[in-house]
């Protein structure tokens, strides 16, 4: 049984790129612990040799028709929703170097 501490939540929030307040960390740690305790019931089931099911698709998604190029979104449309775009590009804060 995993033990969810505030440090666990902080670590996972970092992986998910979420900044959390101290209050959120405390509350989520408590609630996740509770949810995982509930989910503990599946640990007792015998799943030896059972294939994991990653998809509910009941037929193969492999398509047989030839792939024909179709028009997609125009670049201006795709950029139209961006918070900051210029010269046909998305702009972000500087990533490399100081």
């Amino acid at each position: 049984m995993a033990n969810v501490t505030q440090a666990t939540v902080e670590h996972v929030a970092g992986l998910a790129r979420l900044s959390l307040t101290a209050d959120e960390k405390e509350r989520f740690a408590r609630q996740l612990q509770q949810i995982l305790e509930y989910a503990e019931s599946i640990q007792a089931l015998d799943v030896e040799g059972v294939a994991p099911m990653s998809h509910a698709g009941l037929e193969t998604p492999l398509r047989t028709e030839p792939a024909e190029p179709q028009p997609g979104l125009e670049r201006a449309t795709a950029l139209g929703a961006a918070p900051d775009a210029a010269d046909g590009l998305f702009r972000v804060p500087k990533v490399i170097g100081g």
Partner: protein
Amino acid sequence: MSAAWTQTAATLAARVRGREFSAEESIRAHLDRVAATDPRVRAFLRVREERALSEARAVDARVAAGESLPLAGVPVAIKDVLHLAGEPTTCGSRILERYVAPYTASAVARLQQAGAVVVGKTNMDEFAMGSSNENSAYFPTANPWDLARVPGGSSGGSAAAVAASQAPLSLGSDTGGSIRQPAALCGIVGLKPTYGRVSRYGLVAFASSLDQIGPFARTVEDAALCAQALFGRDERDSTSAAQPVPDFAASLGSGARGLRIGVPEAFIASGLDPAVETLFRAALDDLKREGAEIVPVELPHAPHAIATYYLVATAEASSNLARYDGVRYGLRVEAEDLKRQYGETRDRGFGAEVKRRIILGTFVLSSGYYDAYYKRAQQVRTLIRRDFERAFERCDAIATPTTPTPAFRFGEKTDDPLQMYLADVFTVPANLAGLPGISLPCGLAGGLPAGLQFVGRPFDEATLFRLGAAYQRATNHHEARPPLD
């Protein structure tokens, strides 16, 4: 003739086709109904008055030109998780508050092609995560039967709109019960089709191996009419299935005789409200009288479905919601470096339930926990599907109550996420197994609607409609209307 807003989609469309009244008159009557009732119900995030009327006039022109449109002049309400080109899609979230959709979802386009007119976009739990509509970043929608209670979720706005006769049809999405649960709580019909039945092009993703779009209606006939327009493969969605779509109207009158209905007694035994159970047993008796045979079945792994679901769905959600980074669309909160900008944007943009699920999903996928939680849940998912395969050797559909209780009060479960999750105990197994499920109103418990659910074999929605139509011919629970007038 009685007011247009009291009529079914089937009747409205027939009258618009027969030129008894125009699509414009139909839409105007429903917009008036929205104006009269939505200040109390608050089903809509946005109502499209002028655009809906101008689109209705275009439908009238198509009718005049001789087109035979199955949904001619029928108003539909669309959950705000589906795109309509040039208009906002918020998903009930602050992070998409100013987002404008660049294209129209295939499901919406199909209804428009059939002559339907979108009257507005409906409220929902943020990113379809919730069972009460209380997770909407904007406001909670009320249950038309009791304005102090929740309409269910996550498609609560779409369910409330149909229950309040603001539109005879609406669209929702169902990942763990988000169509069937609010349908039950609002006393209407809600269908989650088989996984792959409806194109998801233009549906904002929550958990991609579970999400499915489906209709709300007040009658099974209307739900089938909507499904007929909605179903079928779409080259824009690689997960949409190439299965043939039968003529649903043709089998609606076939009756329940000869059908075997499986009841998983052990699964439904715990946590069921006695008044809901009484209505469920009465419904089984009605179906027996209509000629259906009731047989016992077992779903031994179904009690693990909620645990399995919250491990699988949150893992998928944590991955799908990674796209809200403040770079390509949506909210951006400026910060000095990119990593901090991601964090601040997502902290400000997402509500508590969405954060909780992203954290749980990231946790179960993280190093050291993946095998024990995510992979094991996927294996249990296989066991749950096998249970259904075995049960369907003995029956044609499985009946359960849709929810263990009628609608609860605002605030009743908001502090306890686990209790909220358990509202979906009877609906989640069908999503995990990819099966179709329908909820039908089966009477009132203390003045509040309860739902009867049928789950069917893959791509066998026809049997669900057939059983549902037989049930609605034998009973009049679907004719009860909330006390709004």
